[in-house]
């Protein structure tokens, strides 16, 4: 419901002073919101800007002039590039595993009445309500206690662990508004359980599954705290930055951050555009009341 189409109260009877006061209040609120957005976005702008900084020192904190040098050599530091590649590998695998496990769990939780359902809901919620530092420390306790070597595999295990709950929550919210009669129709027309799932259910919950997958990928590639506990000597992109922050941060960190940023924004815009297009196409089909 658009605010503009709602019937508006006539304010003609208001004294000019009240009307003026209201206008000032409205303006102040909008200004406040704009300032809040600026607070959110200034660091982003600074990061993008400093990828062009012609820095001479070990640190990239003071603006010293414009250069494209760092963008010409984004992969100049092999350690940094390797770390980013590791992060992408972990994120890809973690996304596949966590999305699969989480989606199945969400289906079970929304679709079926069974003993232990509310306990399971609570159990899935607890990791979300646990600080990362505790998740990292406890997982490290397990690995130390059973003598499991820390490295790529332990990072992957950790990332799937903290992502699964997010996947469940995301997919569950979509399944709740789901019209079961479509599935029943498919089965009435002779589709079996698996056919119904792959040809009716999955396409309908696909947007939520994709959203959950994107969220998992983003959480994984961004995770520092839990990874820091369980990485052993393996270095991911955030771990490289953490190490570099104490010594010197090359501007390539900003360049790669900017690249990931621009890529993600492009993906977002593309997804929204695709969705709009799909909606427009769907609108052509007659809809029943």
């Amino acid at each position: 419901m658009e605010a503009a189409t709602a019937p508006r109260r006539s304010r003609a009877a208001e004294p000019a002073l009240v009307r003026g006061g209201r206008r000032v209040m409205n303006g102040a609120l909008n200004l406040y919101a704009a300032l809040a957005l600026i607070y959110l976005l200034v660091p982003v702008a600074i990061i993008l800007l400093f990828s062009f900084n012609d820095t001479k020192s070990r640190f990239n904190f003071i603006w010293q002039g414009f250069t494209l040098d760092h963008w010409k050599e984004p992969f100049k530091f092999k350690d940094l590039t390797d770390a980013l590649v590791t992060s992408i590998q972990v994120a890809t695998l973690a996304t596949i595993v966590a999305t699969l496990l989480g989606t199945l769990m969400a289906l079970a939780l929304v679709r079926y009445q069974f003993r232990g359902r509310s306990t399971t809901n609570l159990f899935i919620f607890i990791p979300l309500a646990t600080p990362e530092v505790v998740l990292g420390a406890s997982l490290l306790s397990l690995f130390i206690s059973v003598g499991f070597a820390r490295g790529f595999v332990s990072i992957l295990i950790a990332h799937v662990m903290f992502s699964v709950s997010f996947v469940v929550v995301t997919v569950r919210s979509r399944l709740i508004g789901f019209d079961r009669s479509i599935e029943e129709a498919a089965q009435d027309l002779g589709a079996n359980g698996l056919q119904t799932f792959f040809r009716v259910t999955l396409p309908l919950i696909a947007p939520a599954v994709v959203a959950a997958a994107l969220l998992t990928f983003a959480l994984s590639i961004d995770d520092f705290v839990i990874t820091n506990f369980n990485a052993g000597s393996t270095v991911t992109y955030p771990l490289y930055i953490w190490g570099a922050a104490r010594v010197s941060i090359p501007p390539q960190v900003n360049v790669l951050a900017a690249m990931i940023f621009l890529f993600t924004v492009a993906m977002m815009i593309f997804t929204v555009w695709q969705q709009r297009r799909a909606e427009r196409l769907a609108a052509v089909r007659p809809t029943e009341a």
Binding site: R8, A36, G102, M105, F123, P131, V133, A137, G193, V272
Partner: protein, 288 residues
């Protein structure tokens, strides 16, 4: 499908994910509890001795960091709410066709790695940066005043990093309010303050509840902001846990502190849940 298979199906769907969570979330908590009750050092080896004194020692040695963590987290949560509520209100009720674009702006910071975002505050608050210059010019900051390495910087960093977690749920709650409700309230001669307090705030409450948890919990356990923007004087309980575990290898103390942190948060969440109800907390109520 037979009845028996139908009954077992939900468990089959649940078991892989549940198994993962049990083995890598629940079981680790058991091992961490065990470690917290051991004595010894990494060199001499640890013995399990039911050493509960680690807990009391940890609390008395690190009470400053514990209190500071919850103080900073509370401060950041309140500031985040003060920033988020009007912004969410404006997006929800005045965003019009730009709603989605404005929301995209809100989540843009997430597209940059957490650490890099925090480091950019080092740039912004730098001693020679223009923010410090400006504050000195208008006299809000003394000649030798700094922003970096202060409590202000740490709290600002925490607030910044978790702010979208506050904005999004508050927005989601406000978005469900029919603007005609506000019109109706005005038509019935409600004053703006009454409309906000009696219509908007109650509608936003579930979002505020979620936002407070999503901001406060990670903020209380955070150590990145204190490490990068503060000094040891601003160090929080997360800093102690990570350095005890990873640098000093004093595993029992680190494990005990993790449980203390978790216990305090759990108590706070439970107290909070008494006000708002468990179901709305886990989002499970919508699951019919």
């Amino acid at each position: 499908m037979s009845r028996a298979r139908r009954r077992l199906l939900p468990y089959a769907l649940l078991s892989p994910g549940l198994l993962w969570l049990v083995v890598f979330f629940a079981v680790p908590l058991y091992y961490m509890a065990e470690i917290s009750l051991k004595t010894g050092t990494l060199e001499t080896g640890y013995q399990f001795t039911w050493h509960f004194k680690t807990y009391t020692d940890a609390i008395s040695n690190y009470q400053d960091q514990l209190l500071r963590s919850f103080w900073y987290a509370g401060l950041a949560t309140v500031i985040a709410l003060v920033i988020a509520f009007p912004l969410a209100y404006v997006i929800a009720f005045r965003g019009g066709k730009y709603k989605n674009a404005l929301l995209l702006l809100v989540i843009l910071p997430f597209f940059i790695t957490y650490l890099v975002r925090t480091l950019s505050w080092q740039t912004i608050l730098d001693d020679d940066g223009w923010v410090v210059d400006f504050l000195k010019t208008i006299g809000l900051l003394g000649e030798n005043g700094r922003l970096l390495a202060t409590r202000t910087a740490v709290v600002a960093g925490i607030t910044y990093n978790f702010l979208p977690f506050m904005i999004l749920p508050v927005y989601a709650a406000l978005e469900r309010v029919d603007p005609r409700m506000l019109e109706a309230a005005y038509d019935l001669y409600a004053k703006r303050r009454d409309v906000v307090m009696r219509v908007v705030v109650p509608a936003a409450t579930p979002g505020i509840v979620a936002g407070v948890l999503l901001t406060f919990i990670p903020a209380a356990g955070d150590f990145v902001n204190a490490e990068l923007l503060g000094t040891p004087q601003q160090s929080m309980i997360g800093n102690v846990i990570q350095s005890r575990y990873l640098e000093i290898t004093d595993y029992p103390t680190a494990a005990a502190l993790s449980f203390i942190l978790m216990a305090i948060i759990l108590v706070l969440v439970l107290v909070y849940a008494r006000f708002v109800g468990t179901e709305s907390l886990t989002g499970a109520d919508e699951a019919r």
